[in-house]
């Protein structure tokens, strides 16, 4: 477990920079993570983040397909918003765990 100062807040995260406690998340923290990833947040970005956090709280496994069918964005748009591994990047900004396989 690591700690990191983001937007003046002391945040717990893993060694890849994913938050380990969604409770510590706020928009300023998210904007700073986004900046590190080279993304400047727009309303559409926030909508996606909102959706991902909602799914995470419901304990639903998040997949690209699910995001594409969410009604928030289609997969192409998801890629435009978060280029290169959108699920990974968006999860990081949303403060939720990185999608993983069994090993």
């Amino acid at each position: 477990m690591n700690e990191k100062t983001l937007a003046g807040y002391c945040i717990r995260c893993n060694d890849q920079g994913y938050l380990t406690d969604l409770e510590q998340w706020n928009k300023e923290v998210a904007s700073e993570i986004a900046q590190e990833e080279g993304i400047s947040m727009t309303d559409k970005h926030w909508e996606v983040i909102d959706y991902l956090q909602d799914q995470c709280r419901k304990e639903v496994a998040i997949t690209i397909r699910k995001v594409g069918k969410s009604g928030v964005v289609n997969i192409k748009e998801f890629y435009q918003l978060f280029p290169k591994g959108p699920l990974k990047t968006a999860s990081k900004i949303a403060g939720i765990p990185k999608p993983v396989s069994c090993i």
């Binding site: 496994a61 690209i64 591994g85 069994c102």
Partner: protein, 415 residues
């Protein structure tokens, strides 16, 4: 008489028919099971068939061979469930009423989900090994393939037996080495995940394998389409990977029966309580195996662990008692690494795969997360265990359905 109906006579359905026939009194409960197939396939063997390690005959049995006396097998296609009428409607129009329903219809590959995948090149230069036909056709292809770019690919998660594609890549390395043509084959592993391994301990312990076997990896690849004219796969971000031979695991989906029944998620999986295995659809409907939407691995060993929970919970449900939240996501699988060696991993909802010994703490004889010859024999022995113990509901010695932490190197690393 009360009616218990099981949908699907694959690994899970067959196991449940055996354990419930023992658990429920004959004079009170009829048990029926429906499946459209007349063959029960040993699916884990599909991994070995392409390399001529198993023969087709070793992987097939008549579906009725393992259905116990006192269970009525109905060979037909399930059209849909009418949950409000507690009735299942078969394709031929016959209705079956039930008091308790178990859904065990598994999942299957859906290559039609990816543009260009199932066209004229399907089973010519684009293969799956998740079906009997796919594995057999691929065997014939590999027998006289002259080499080139071999791409082993996962379309999207979740898939059943999530490590099978990686094992396939490892076995390709040994297969072509043994044929003295490894230098003519370039193996690339393409995955939508962030790497071949995604959990911290496994990544640390196992990343050497890809390098050692000279397998190139392309991570974060979410396929949009197969461009068959130019023999390449293209992802949503515009990345391209060229192939001469594409071995893909297409999207896996639950049976469309759930869609026709008006429930099921975007991949036709049934919403299920992850600890009790009761469906979230209706209280007298239960779900087991690959058909569930659980965040557990889709594997025969997992279904085996689930069957203990489900057998107990069905009896509790009948008795009107609260269900036990006893399924912990326990999964246990051998990972073939080629050259007669294998790894073994053991994990659950909360505990990632770690090092240690299995199944007897401190003794083994199997080693977790480490390559060894004995693990390889464990993997081969799984076929015998499957046909002779697992699906007929006999307990497997030393292996408990809940994960044991003793004998494992558990650290307090909680990320």
């Amino acid at each position: 008489m009360k009616e218990l109906l099981i949908l699907g006579a694959g690994t899970s359905g067959t196991m449940m028919s055996n354990s419930l026939r023992k658990a429920l009194p004959q004079e009170k409960w009829n048990i029926s099971i429906v499946d459209v197939e007349d063959t029960h396939y040993y699916q884990p063997g599909f991994l070995f068939l392409p390399f001529d390690i198993y023969t087709p005959k070793q992987l097939k049995r008549n579906i009725d061979a393992f259905i116990p006396k006192g269970v009525h097998l109905i060979q037909n296609k399930i059209d849909r469930i009418d949950k409000d009428q507690n009735t299942v409607i078969l394709q031929d129009g016959v209705n079956i009423r039930y008091d308790i329903l178990i859904i065990a219809t598994g999942c299957h590959i859906a290559p039609e989900e990816i543009e260009g995948m199932q066209g004229p090149r399907w089973h010519k230069t684009i293969f799956d090994f998740y079906t009997f036909d796919g594995a057999k056709n691929l065997r014939d292809k590999l027998r006289d393939w002259e080499g080139g770019k071999l791409v082993v690919h996962i379309s999207e998660m979740p898939i059943k037996c999530p490590v099978a594609p990686l094992e396939f890549a490892f076995l390709c390395d040994s297969y072509f080495s043994n044929k003295n043509m490894r230098d003519q084959v370039e193996i690339t592993y393409v995955t939508p995940m962030s790497g071949a391994f995604t959990k911290p301990v496994a990544t640390k312990e196992l990343s050497y394998l890809l390098e050692q076997k000279n397998i190139k990896i392309v991570p974060d690849f979410n396929i949009e389409k197969v461009d068959t004219d130019n023999s390449k796969i293209i992802d949503y971000g515009g990345q391209e990977v060229a192939y001469d031979l594409l071995v893909t695991v297409p999207t896996n989906m639950g049976d469309e029966m759930t869609l026709r029944s008006g429930f099921g998620d975007e991949l036709n999986y049934v919403p299920t309580n992850k600890f009790t295995l009761q469906s979230k659809v209706k209280e007298n409907i239960f779900v087991i195996g690959d058909a569930t939407d659980l965040p557990a691995s889709k594997a025969g060993s997992v279904a085996h662990f689930q069957s203990d929970t489900l057998t107990e919970n069905i009896q509790l449900y009948i008795a009107g008692k609260p269900l036990k939240e006893s399924f912990d996501g326990h999964s246990n699988c051998f990972i073939e690494t080629g050259n007669g060696k294998a790894l073994l991993i053991d994990f659950n909802y909360d505990q990632e795969p770690v090092k240690g010994t299995f199944p007897i703490p401190g003794i083994g004889p199997l080693k977790l997360l480490k390559e060894s010859r004995i693990n390889h024999f464990g993997k081969l022995a799984f076929k015998w265990i499957y046909w002779n113990m697992l699906i007929t509901g006999k307990p497997i010695p030393f292996v408990s359905s809940r994960m044991k932490l003793a004998g494992k190197e558990i650290s307090n690393n909680d990320d």
